[in-house]
Symmetry: C2
Subunit: 493 residues, 2 copies
Amino acid sequence: MTAYHRLTARFTRIATVNEAAAMLGWDAATMMPPGGGAARGDQLAVLAGLAHALLTAPETAADLAAASSSGEAWQDANLALMRHAHTRATAMPADLVEAQARANSACEKVWREARAAADFARVVPQLTEVIRLVREQAAALAPALGLSPYDALMDGFQRGIGSADVAPVFAAYETFLADALPRAEAIQAARPAPQRPAGPFAEATQEALCRHLAEAAGLEPAHARLDRSAHPFCGGTPTDVRITTRYDPEDFGRALLGVMHETGHALYERGLPAAYARLPVGEAAGMAAHESQSLLIEMQACRSDAYLSWLAPLLLERFGGDPAPYHPANLGQLWRRVGRGCIRVDADEMTYPAHIILRFRLEQALVAGELAVADLPGAWNDGLRALLGITPPDDAQGCLQDIHWYDGAVGYFPSYTLGAMAAAQLMAAARRVLPDLDAALGRGDLRPLVAWLRREVHGRGSLLGFNDLLRAATGKPLDPADFTAHLTARYLT
Amino acid sequence: MTAYHRLTARFTRIATVNEAAAMLGWDAATMMPPGGGAARGDQLAVLAGLAHALLTAPETAADLAAASSSGEAWQDANLALMRHAHTRATAMPADLVEAQARANSACEKVWREARAAADFARVVPQLTEVIRLVREQAAALAPALGLSPYDALMDGFQRGIGSADVAPVFAAYETFLADALPRAEAIQAARPAPQRPAGPFAEATQEALCRHLAEAAGLEPAHARLDRSAHPFCGGTPTDVRITTRYDPEDFGRALLGVMHETGHALYERGLPAAYARLPVGEAAGMAAHESQSLLIEMQACRSDAYLSWLAPLLLERFGGDPAPYHPANLGQLWRRVGRGCIRVDADEMTYPAHIILRFRLEQALVAGELAVADLPGAWNDGLRALLGITPPDDAQGCLQDIHWYDGAVGYFPSYTLGAMAAAQLMAAARRVLPDLDAALGRGDLRPLVAWLRREVHGRGSLLGFNDLLRAATGKPLDPADFTAHLTARYLT
């Protein structure tokens, strides 16, 4: 058995432990009674510690030192990714890994109560501990990776992109938005307001429809579940994907489009190269790459005129009532509407990057120690005012709205907007390659698009870095111009 | 840090890994899409392997050798149980542990299909492999424990009881049954047949009622869930208990009494001593002890005249319809009815031991290599004919009916009848100590009974062995006379 083969066996074992943890994380968000929270935190901490111990064992270092390039691209990429994971892990003390898992779990639990009560003070002690540990994590990782502390955190979500790449893209977008948003609002205001379908819409009907659409997009029920959670997500494993949503009885669009978003994530997991399952090169290429897939399905495909022309009569059939609001043009205006709102997950695609820019700047300040957790609500509200000219009525609609920081995920937020930009770029490329794409979408048929994504993105796993993946699929590295062109075509013409 | 304290830290870690596995096992039976089965088998195998590695690490052996008696009963019992677990684990090669986890998971999956199709041949290859590995397991354990191969398996479910204790108790029961069953049938036949409440009964109504009764018995929703599975069970962890059932639209009694049975298990888990959580001495005292708790709640308490007098009007209120079948006396006759049936889990308490005696003898023969898996259906049908004079119409109602063997659990079945006997003995003792017990049951109030069980059984964890636990709670070791007295009073007078 060669050093490389011993490494693949070891990384397979690590990935299998992480699969167990992923399932327990899904359970905690969907099924677990509240009294199970403390024990669940311990379980996740112990599994994280065991995976960390496997990764940092002396045998792993010895095999990594002994293994050499094979000249085969997948194997070499796999080995490089193993080295990268090992570098990240050995930079982190085992007790810090366990302390983070425990603190994140405890904080997430209190966050659920704090958000329900719009009471930020309630979670300050837990979030302070989470951020303190995140700063320890960043300080430990930065020298090992040769990155700044914040970039060392970003690297954990999307390799090869740092704040120096992101900051100018975001600054340019801020400039674009300052011009585009008032213009889009004016165009919108000059039209009659779209009509909302009249609710309430039974949860069971919404759920059945969500299942139908996810399956029609290619998500197989034998390998996936749809459940409910406070914050929608896609979890589980490639052969057992677990997506979640929440249902608004007055607005079926939230769950429906949310489920299509998570379906985009789920299709990515389902399309990863099975031959490299449980190996680093067989994983998704990063969080920005993942978000490009969810936004491509939700924003680019499902909100297109073509798809809506197929969806609208189906919705009318399921929900009944006055047919006027179900006209495709009306649904298009309803679901492609700009506006200045406080909630990130409800934001339209034009203002969404403003929410990300806010979080990107605040989390950099938290990591740098320039912003105290107790001062977060004020900084949040100031920042949102500067970007969108609005102020949250309470912290539940402000700095308490997202799970990420409360679960220890700092450096993740930029991925959303990088993903939105990549989604536009991939869709533009797919249109060039698939001339009948709109005709297929007009039949509710996502198969040609998903087949192209499987070939160009999903099936490549982590063989290529983010920009190389885009170059292979679209002929160029990340180019925000496709995103602003998409927004201009959709909202400014 | 003393050797004993290092051991407690290590065993806590092992128990936490096992908690994760318990949750994944629950998920596999209740939530998992079928396509997740292969990956789940790997996950359970890897977790079992990691727990085994922690238990068999050289440091564990060194600390066990160094640790000495403290003179404190709980600590000494804990240490003795750690030694016992270590002896069992070191006798088992790590690759056998993983192979069993994998084979059991694969077999259980095929069993679900085979049972649905009443096609034993479909699962023969998988069950043959499971039994082959069980025999390897028994051969590895027997010399280390100084027990026969079959007793070494039994020891894994209930310490301190072997086939030499069980065989004469079972032989005596066979004699009792040969006389008692025809007499009970004759008494029953001389009465008018009880009326069945007319269905169908909506699953949602049944489920809500099951939840209500479980909660009324003291199972807190903050620490428990009720879900559906093909085979009812109680899983999860002491702070997050997961019970399951299945609903028959024509007979609400199956789910209702089944849920009270699982509630008995769940209350035991909830009542274990929290100060010794995740330590061997803080665990339940064994499977026979566990079954005594489920049967005490289901058979002794919930099927009593007193409890039924409270339950009957509640059932009528929930299900409506003709009130006559809801008379407590009618429900009593319906739910305390002897009969010769093929299905163990549907058996009345008098014939149930016959099903156990059958399995006890067959699994001894399988382990001894005297019975081939392919010959199981014939041996099963011959055995049932000899004990109850009936023959299963197909293998789904014969040797395919129970999950146990297909999941690698051999040596478990005797625990059911030992538990039934212990339940009668504990109930007799509780009646002596709690003179108002029937009055409380007549108000649907299980709290005095559960409080007594908590003190006398649950709260003792594994401090005492099975017979010592019964002696502490009832003044004598296991005495089958309380069980036959209970049956005589209920069915022969």
